[in-house]
Symmetry: C2
Subunit: 155 residues, 2 copies
């Protein structure tokens, strides 16, 4: 398991890839984002997008899956206070394969809580045409080594 101290500024983690199907796009959007260009392939053709596109929250959640498996579940994660920025740069369409990366931008021990600290990271998904489709700047809290109050056995 990784602790705050194990994250190095400039490190880039390869998160692997995920392919999104039309059925998954429709299923997510029916539950969470029922706009015509997300839930209705026919209506979507008449919009500025010219066809069905994934909800931006779906795209973000696909990044989250890769980051949970590739980074957070390999570390003593204490969850996230939030995101500084989310940019949806290109539409995500049925059949797209998205490749994820996570770059460590900043590592900051907490001033008030010696058992933890924050990693500021840049997450991106890139499609099979080499286009970045989403860019996320996130803050995540991690336990510091040898600090039993937050780390180790308590998680």
């Amino acid at each position: 398991m990784r602790y705050l101290e194990d994250f190095q500024v400039g490190e880039v983690v390869d998160l692997g890839s995920v392919t999104v199907t039309e059925e998954e796009i429709l299923d997510f959007a029916r539950r969470f984002d029922p706009q015509p260009f997300h839930v209705d392939p026919e209506a979507a053709r008449g919009t500025i997008f010219g066809g069905l596109i994934a909800s931006g929250w779906h795209t973000g959640s696909l990044f989250m899956r890769l980051a949970a498996i590739g980074v957070l579940n390999q570390a003593v994660s204490l969850a996230s206070p939030g995101l500084e920025e989310v940019r949806w740069l290109k539409p995500v369409r049925p059949g797209d394969t998205l490749h994820g990366t996570y770059e460590v931008l900043e590592v900051t021990p907490s001033a008030s809580r010696p058992d933890r600290g924050t990693v500021r990271g840049l997450g991106e998904l890139t499609n099979q045409r080499g286009e970045v489709v989403i860019r996320i700047i996130a803050r995540n809290h991690f336990a510091r080594r040898n600090q039993p109050s937050a780390g180790g056995g308590t998680l």
Copy 2:
């Protein structure tokens, strides 16, 4: 249908409420955020959260659902370029009822594209104890009135 011109700075839209179940929290997290405090009620008890909490992307997607129904599907929406900020302020737990609001912060016609413009808005979900659990600052594009290239029949 509402156009850009119909959004007034300071307007607050009541988005109604949604209740989230343990099964929904588990289902979302197994797909998109398989961290122990999101997918495993037993393991979650041993974490800093003391029990199962919803993925932050799930909470954001619940806000999205309310905003799609209450705002975007009532307007000629041209989707969103991104979010400026997402803050997860309190954990969301099974059985929580979340009430949504959307406040118009800024309305800006596009300088380069006369058929559209941007609304900058503040979205919040508040739980049954009156605690704001998520705060989102979003940008959304909308068509302007009487501008056939983006608006009206094309969407």
